[in-house]
Structure formats: C-alpha cells, structure tokens
Amino acid sequence: MKRLFAALLAGLALLSLPAAAGAIEIKQVTTPLGIKAWLVEDKSTPVVALSFSFVGGTASDPAGLSGATDLMANLLTDGAGPLNAQAFRQRQEDAAASIGFNASLDRVSGSLRVLSANRDEGFELLRLAMVEPRFDVAMVDQRRAQTIASLNQAAQRPASVAGRTLMATLFAGHPYAADPEGTREDLAKATPDLLKKRAAAVLLRNGLTVAAVGDISEAELARQIDRAFGSLPTGTPPALPPQWVPPTKPRTVVVERSVPQSAALMALPGIPRDDPDWYAALVMNHVLGGGGQQSRLFNEVREKRGLAYSVSSGLRTYKRAALLIISTGSANERVAEALRVIKASMARLRTEGITEQELSDAKTYLAGALALSLDSSGSIANLLHSMQVDGLSPDHLTRRGALIAAVKLEDVQKMARRLLRDDALTTVVVGKPVGVTSEP
C-alpha cells in the first residue's frame, strides 16, 4: 500500500515532462499459446489498456432466459477464485486497475485498464474473473435486483422506451428483438449454475479478439495475454442468429407517456459494414444527419424551425442486420411537424442527391474524424478492437483516406435511393404526440 502510494505521487511528477512523439503504429502479436492480438506501444503515459471480446452476445441467450448473458457478464467481476466480490474489488482498487465486462447483441466485451507498474496484478485479476468466476448467490441476487431496477428506470425515460420499442418492432420474431437486459420473469430464472453455463459457452479462446495500447512491449503483452486468456477452453462459440428480413411496409408505433416532449425514432434497413459501398453510405449519412451541427436535419429541424434540440442520424451494424436510425425529441404539439420535415429531407436527398460542396465537406470531415477519437489509451484500444471485429486489416488506417476520397456524387445518390425508402420506414413516437397515430 505505502509503496503504491509513493509511486502514484512520483508518477504524477514525472508526467509533466513532454511525451515522446509517435504516430499510431499497429503491431501484430502472436503469443506462445497462439493467441493473436494487435498492439500500439505507447510509453507516453504509464498505463496499459486492453479491449477484447468473445463471439456470442445477448442474441444467444437461451430461449426463455433473456438477460442471462448480460447478467453473466456483469457478475464476472463480482468475485472469483478465492476472492469474494468485496475482496475482488478491493484488489482492483489497490492496484488502481479497472476491469469491466458488458454484453451487446453479438458479443461479450471486456476491458482492462491498469498502471503499467501493476500489470501483473491487473492481468491476474482478469484471468480470475474469466476462468474462476464465482457467481455467489448473494451477488446474483444483488445484480438481478439492480438489473430489474435499471429496466424500471429505462421504462421511465421516453428515449429508452422508444429505443426498446423500435428494436422489438423491427426484429419481431428474431433474437435481436429481446431486451439485452432481459425481462423480470426471465431474470428470476437465472441461477448461479445457469450463469456458469453461460460463461462456459461464451468465454472461449477461439471466439476471442484482443487489442492492447500503452506502456507494454510485444513480448510482455504476449506473456500477459497468455496469463489471462491462456487457460480458457476452446470450443464451438454460440451460433449467430438467422439473417434478419427487413420490413417491406411502413409502420408507426405510438407509445403513450405523460411527458411534455415526445421522443421519436425512425428506422430504415441499413447497410452491412463489409458492403463495397460502405463509404458512400457514410457520406450520405453525414450529409443527412451525422457528425454535428452541419447536417441537413440539424439545419432544417433545429436551426431553421427550432423544432428540436437534438436531431441526428446514424448507421448501426450488427452481425445479422443493419439499420439507419434517425432520432429526435420535440414538444408533443410539434413532433408531427418535425417528422414531416425529416421525411421531406430524406425525400429531397433521395431525388436530388447531394451537392459537390456537401460531398467535399463530408470527405474532409470523415477523413479527419477518426483521429479525433484517439483521445486516450482506452479509446485507441477500442478502435483497434473494433477494426478487428469489422474484419479490417492493420493498414486500414492508412488506406481509409483513399476509400473515402474515391466516393463520387453518383455513388451517394445511388445510396440515397437504396436506403431512404418511405416504404420501409418504421417510426416510433413515445409521449402524447398530437397528430401522430399508430399505423399497422
């Protein structure tokens, strides 16, 4: 304890020295046990950040056990091996390490952040969490109660209700429709045994993707990765759900809530990440409602008419589905007009395409924006991790500029005609909207 304390104070003094220069250079590391990882070695801060994931997310929850994967992921850091939850957390705090897991539809993801001087302890705790999680009954009960409370809280927030309703509507009959956090009824069935089985089904060495950033050499990273992940079993990762079949009819769902402002979401079938025209879609989305305060939706809905504070669009990709989602929030009396303006903006983009100026502005933004996310060791590790999940090569960061530059006006126009289709539009409005009603 005393030693760490002194080291922390000394570390702070050293850090005021200028950091070493260095662009992002991605090294590919293969460990003695054969685990592959990407690394950006960066000695500018005494920190190591790890970002990793396993194939198999909440969409692989067994039937009638929604929420099991998410609950399992939350409980991995609630006691492992000889350490109960309090002792495990205390060890993390004493090493100034933080370990976290979470589940998305397709993956269980994890992260480790530790001072490089304490990396042995950090990676050992990570190993314990994955290889010897305890799932003590008291902790299962505590996290279950917190999850149910979190579901209740989400049910209070119009924007959360809109998001949940949208997924349930779009993916009705598909595993992506279920709430990743589960339902109260299903959560009641989650026992320590069942959660152990979930962990064993998902935490497999051959379903693993790893990225690391920070003050650590290749050889040392290889050693630490083998320590943390080397004793995980191999096996067959959970199967992916079937391919989603997008809706072919427009649909509007209104959920009544007593709030002054309606939350609205509009969704269209999107485009998979590996589509050859991905960058045309990225440009199109940027012009429509991406980025920040420059988009057409921002201009039409907010700047010109003051219909909303927040309005934006984004591309979302999953393993078995892809979406284009527009979100906004507008007073109950004005939300119908906001939706009309958004639809008119989509129609104009579809029929007229974008201008040369918009194309070149979007390109310079998209080319530069990636570097803006290289803010911390953790965010760089997340980028390296998602590049691997998306099937990109390490030299993608240098090739990306050319891919964006190659997008032509007609590519964007074609993409607008492909994506911005009124006949596939699903709209969800939560509030007391005036002039918006549910349509089948």
């Binding site: 001072l115 402002q261 305060q293 420059q294 924006a369």
Partner: protein, 415 residues
C-alpha cells in the same frame, strides 16, 4: 497575456490532434432572477454569425476541416471547445478569437433558437422527474432566486422573455480576454500557441468586468425536506444534500478532506455506505456520496440511495444516519484513508491519459478562482489529508441545519 487572457498549453504528441478550449468566467450563477438562462442562451448564440464568419458557419467550417466542436454552460463558467487536426490549430484560434467580441445577435436568429432551448429544457428537465426534483432541491439549499438555485438552462418564463438586448448586454459585460482562459492541449508546442494567441487574441482589448459575487449563506428555511411524487416514477430515490464549503467560499480548509471523505464514505462499491446498505443491510440497490469543491460559491456534499424494492424511505434514512454516526463517533482508519487517497491519485494519472481531461480540469479550476498551482498541488494536498481532518470535516458539514433531504417517489396509487 497583456490584455489579461490566461493561456495554458498542455502538449501531448500521442495523436496528431489538438483541442482548444476557451472558458469564460461567467455562468448561470451570474444572472439575475427574471433573466435566468441568459448565459446558456448566449452560448447558443455564439454559434451564430460575426462579420467574418456568417451565421451557422462556425461549426460547418470546423466540420469540413475534419474537426468537432461544442460548448457547455455551467453555474460558474461557460466553455467552448474544438478538437481538430494539429495543423488546423490556427483556423480554430482565429475563429474563437473572432467570436470573443464579434457576435451579432439578431431577432431573426433568436426566435427559432428560443424554441430549440425550450426543447432542450423539455428533454433534460421537464421530461425527467429526477431533474425537476433536483431543481426544487437547489431552490431550498441555496435559497430561491439565488445563484446555484436558478437552473442553468433557465426557467421557461424567462427563456421566453430574454431579448436581443438582454443577451447583447450579458455578452458585452462578460466576454473579454481578461475574463477568459485559453487552454490548448495536444500535438503542439508552447511557442506555437504563444505566437498564434498573440496574433489572434492579443489585439482584443480588455474590458472592465464586475467582481463576481456569491452568497456565503444558504437558503433561509434549512433544514428542509422536498418530496416529489410523480406518476412517471417507478424507481424511488432518497438523497440528502448538505451545504458545503468549496475551494473559494466558506470553511475552505475542509475542501480536500471532504474529497477523501466522499470517496471512502460512498465513492465506490467498497465504500462504507455501499458495504453497509447494499452488501450487508440490503436496504439499498446502490448508494453513493459525492462532493465537488471547484465552485466559486458554496457547494454541496451529497449522499444518495436507491432503495431496495421492499424497503421504505425511513429504513434508508435510518441506515444512512447510522453509518454517519459510526464515522462521527469512531473516526476513520488510516488504511481506509490511504486507500481512498490512492484511488483519487490514480484517477489523476488516468486523467493525464486523456486529451479531454486536462483542459477540463484546468478550465474548471481557473474559472472558479483557482490557479495552475492549485491544479498542480492537488495530489500533494490530497495525500496530506489526515484521518482527524476527515472526521473534523464530516462533523462540520453533516449538520442538520445545513441539509435538504430529497425524495423521489411514485405518485400515490401509481405503482
């Protein structure tokens, strides 16, 4: 700089990007009742035009140069920030300097923006029962119509009435180089920033600004209890806020001990409150304590609990009071103090791993009357806090006559 602008450079060559932040030493606490929301409304208008950069173009220019920008308004400060490729630093420094005094505010732009701000208020406050409760709690804690009680976004009636003249006056009165802090972080050098700052911010004349005033007392009706029963609420919340000294106002000698106290009492899942209420007592689903000393006026020390499903507000209150009494009677152990100090110091190291953290920390400190030396001495001052000082700080702050107890509950019969 000669015109009074304070400038700080935080070089980091990790990525080829820079962040510029300009923080003005003015916030919603500098408003007068009847004109609440002026600081925030003006922040929105800062994205409209100057003679050199037409209305709405500021963000478009940043974006088409591969950057991102935004702004925030707080009780004591208003900040504008951009992150962009390192070689575009001159562009954003030129534009930020230009709008320090060059914004033209007109009715044409105020009219739709007023609606935008009312929508922002609906989204953040009127749609959110806990935010409405927080507003009512601050009115009791600091006194109605007083700084920190008036909401940052403003009251709807005031937002509807603010005029071009109100905003222009506020702008002229508070936006000046001698009332601002410039922070540039990232892939640049002190010399490069100095040159650009002299070129663009240097020529802007300083202006007389009024001293900022904050009350040294809280609301007149303490202690107080505020209950919001709302049909939209499903999950209840219990919290208690005590008026507390900040780095600048009140018994400031407690400011560092209170940070360690907040950490060990309710700052993590190994804290006293969490262990007693969540793990052992099963009274709460979660429990927390927080304290932010970077405030020009008084601040608050907050404790909160999310009650477990079958437990009442009275159960929660009793459990919290028991834990407080245990600390006041028995003191704190040296090893738990050291643990809390370690956690706070580690947080400071991790803050240096993020390009966004440095500007935030310096910006907050300097806009609330602190200095660069205060930021740099923070680790030593936290490390120097003793168990006895923590107990004394708890005794000082946890006084019944300085507290507001707040309860958020489902409306009668709505559950």
């Amino acid at each position: 700089m000669p015109n009074g602008l304070q400038a700080i450079v935080l070089p980091s060559r990790r990525a080829p990007i820079v962040t510029q932040v300009v923080v003005y030493k003015v916030g919603s606490a500098d408003e007068t009742f009847g004109k609440t929301g002026a600081a925030h409304f003006l922040e929105h208008m800062m994205f409209k035009g100057t003679d050199k950069v037409p209305g709405g173009e500021f963000s478009r220019i940043v974006s088409r140069n591969g950057g991102r920008d935004n702004a925030y308004t707080g009780f004591d400060a208003t900040g504008y920030h951009q992150t962009i490729a390192a070689e575009r630093l001159e562009l954003i420094m030129r534009m930020e300097a230009d709008r320090m005094t060059g914004i033209r505010i007109s009715d044409r732009e105020i009219v739709p923006e007023r609606q935008v701000i009312l929508e922002e208020r609906r989204m953040r406050t009127d749609n959110v029962p806990s935010a409405l409760l927080d507003e009512a709690v601050r009115e009791q804690l600091y006194g109605r119509h007083k700084p920190y009680a008036m909401p940052i976004v403003g009251y709807p009636d005031d937002i509807k009435k603010l005029s071009v003249n109100d905003l222009s006056t506020f702008y002229r009165r508070h936006y000046a180089p001698n009332n601002a802090v410039l922070i540039v972080a990232g892939d640049t050098t002190t010399e490069a920033v100095r040159k650009l700052a002299e070129k663009y911010y240097g020529p802007i004349a300083s202006r007389k600004t009024e001293p900022r005033r904050r009350p040294s007392k809280g609301g007149p009706n303490l202690p107080q209890k505020v209950i919001r029963a709302d049909a939209r609420v499903v999950e209840p919340r219990w919290s208690r806020l005590w008026l507390a000294p900040s780095y600048r106002t009140g018994e400031t000698r407690h400011a560092y001990a209170l940070q360690v106290l907040a950490r060990l009492f309710g700052g993590s899942e190994t804290s006293r409150l969490w262990r007693a209420l969540v793990v052992d007592g099963k009274v709460g689903l979660s429990a927390w304590a927080s304290y932010s000393p970077a405030s020009l006026g008084l601040t608050s020390f907050d404790v909160g609990v999310h009650p477990a499903p079958t437990r009442s507000m009275a159960d929660v209150e009793k459990a919290v009071t028991t834990e407080m009494k245990r600390l006041l009677d028995g003191g704190v152990k040296p090893e738990e103090v050291e643990r809390a100090q370690n956690q706070l110091l580690a947080g400071a190291i991790y803050a240096q791993d993020s390009l966004a953290s440095g500007p935030r920390i310096y910006g907050t400190m300097l806009s609330t009357g602190g200095t660069v030396a205060d930021v740099d001495a923070w680790p030593q001052r936290i490390a120097a806090v003793t168990p006895a000082e923590i107990q004394a700080a708890a005794e000082y702050v946890w006084r019944d006559d300085g507290a507001v107890t707040a309860m958020l509950t489902p409306a009668e019969g709505s559950r």
